[in-house]
Symmetry: C2
Subunit: 349 residues, 2 copies
């Protein structure tokens, strides 16, 4: 019959039960202080019997450390984020820290409110994926360490991927396959990462004289009428999307109009979200190491909490092209063989 009762044993009670002082009990439990081996063992034994569990709140109040961090992301519903969140949570837990999660639903106001709530709750640090490039929350922080994901704010530790290179990779791939009329629908350009991707891709394509058009989109498969219009009138043989979600939207739209992907137009995405490979056709895209970035974020944060005055860090991860089935070749002699889960696509065009 275990002590699963509602009331938890306190340190004082433990001390009394073991016949020692509260201080000794504390030292025993925390493996600190100068206690004799036998005393320590004795206290620990009693503690186990009584199922003593330290009250973390009291501890936190004394030490100023809660062992909790906050994670603020725009939208868990966007398939880009669950992986990130999951990895953050796992990594944190491995160090015994819990994570509060907040989602900001794209609003700077919500962002401020969430951060404010978390900070006042007394988190040790914050991992923040800002919606846009402005530091909406600086004044609310009151000294809480923050690492920023995917944006380029100054004054914080930064975790990023090499989006510029990603944009080039996508563009170069298309060009190499013979495409000379390329359209690009970007992500929302008030986001640094989207801008990086777009600028690099557009720059590269333009330098080759192959830019058909470019439009700004949102991180969603539901395309704005302005975009579908461009698409419908387009003579491009390939389009670069600023995110996989957008790419999927583009493909769906194209298909609904009876244009074959990649037969008639190729589409390349960005992010390599989990759906990408489940899509028909499976999405060629630029992947970034989300899990590694998440790990880096919590490690950086934990370190910053330890040493608040170390110089700021900026970690940039590599990206890579992952070829699947949504991109085809235009050069007459080229052949693409993509073996994707048993589906072999033969010569395209």
């Amino acid at each position: 019959m275990t002590n699963s009762a509602l009331k938890r044993i306190t340190l004082k009670e433990l001390a009394k039960a073991a016949g020692v002082s509260v201080a000794s009990a504390s030292y025993a439990v925390n493996g600190a202080g100068s206690l004799g081996d036998s005393t320590r063992a004795h206290i620990l034994k009693i503690a186990a019997e009584l199922e003593y569990r330290p009250n973390q709140l009291a501890k936190a109040m004394k030490t100023g450390r809660t062992g909790a961090i906050g994670l603020v992301v725009p939208d868990l519903t966007n398939p880009f984020f669950p992986n990130l969140a999951q990895t953050v949570i796992q990594t944190a837990r491995r160090s015994g820290v819990s994570v509060f999660i907040a989602n900001t639903e794209g609003s700077a106001d919500q962002e401020r409110k969430s951060v404010s709530l978390l900070v006042e709750r007394g988190i040790d640090g914050l991992i923040w994926f800002p919606i846009v490039d402005t530091d909406t929350v600086g004044p609310l922080l009151r000294g809480t360490p923050v690492v920023v994901l995917d944006r380029n704010l100054s004054g914080y530790d930064l975790i990023q991927a090499d989006y510029g290179r990603g944009g080039e990779l996508a563009a170069a791939h298309l060009i190499a396959l013979g495409h000379r009329h390329i359209g690009v629908v970007t992500g929302p350009l008030d986001a640094w990462s989207a801008r990086q991707r777009a600028n690099a891709a557009i720059g590269y394509i333009r330098a080759q004289g192959s830019l058909a058009w470019s439009v700004e989109g949102a991180f969603s498969p539901d395309l704005d009428p302005a975009i579908t219009k461009v698409l419908d009138e387009s003579r491009a043989t390939a389009v670069i999307a600023g995110a996989d979600l957008i790419a999927i939207g583009v493909i769906r739209h194209l298909q609904s109009k009876g244009v074959a992907v990649p037969g008639e137009v190729s589409v390349i995405g960005f992010d390599d979200i989990p759906w990408a490979q489940l899509n028909t056709p499976a999405l060629t895209t630029i992947e970034m190491p989300v899990e590694e970035m998440a790990v880096a974020a919590v490690e950086t944060l934990l370190r910053r909490i330890e040493k608040p005055s170390e110089p700021l860090r900026r970690v940039v991860f590599n990206v890579a092209l992952v070829e699947r089935a949504s991109v085809g070749s235009l050069s007459s002699e080229a052949t693409i063989q993509v073996d994707e889960g048993g589906i072999t696509l033969g010569r395209l065009k």
Copy 2:
């Protein structure tokens, strides 16, 4: 120049600055006690100037309420959960409560550890989506209120959907369309919800003498060889999947073998995850009101925290068939018109 410094003003300092006692300051800030209007206003004014923010930890220690709840789900990476989590977070925040999130990655051990960590951290309550049907965490709870999602554990408040009905709905739909050889690949049967769905569907189909076969699967689009084998040898004209993820896996496999969906075999899923409508063909499925369930979960939990001794609740939500494009008719005279985002599928078979 605002007080964004690292150190926060304490109640004591506020009291001194306002020339009142600590008690009065506390009462003023909390809008309680018996204070004169002018005194109260004065204290509040000073508090605003000093940017006083109550230390939530101290408050929590005194009152025994942290204003935080835990959310324990199996796997954020499964597209079923982000919606749920997001809604829980939003709803909680509307009541000023923050949510700790933990994911258990399918392991009962992790589940126990996570719950344990959260409980010791001092959450006011827990929303728990158990992996299987066994109460792995009961002894760790120490009186923390819990509401259980999607399972049927006794001793807790329960939030469920009418899975049995869902299974029947799916089966009835297929039968109505003339299918007489139906296969079903279930979810993992150690999960209550999966069992409910499976039993109901299989029961219904069998009663019509139309069951071709049934196999147990996992909540994943990656199909076990045992399943693909059954699929390959199957003469079924339709298959019911225990989850959309499974349905997608089935469709992909079928397609890779050159069998048309829904032309040759129809597939119906369960859950209506966000991908469902993005899939090609768009998935016919049974939807459940995840957001409403999430809201109900936090409301139930908050109420339970308020009144621990109220009788336990069990809330069951309705499910509904959503017809899209992955199911076709077998009865010769039937015609299906599915208008799905501009794609019109004409007469099938």
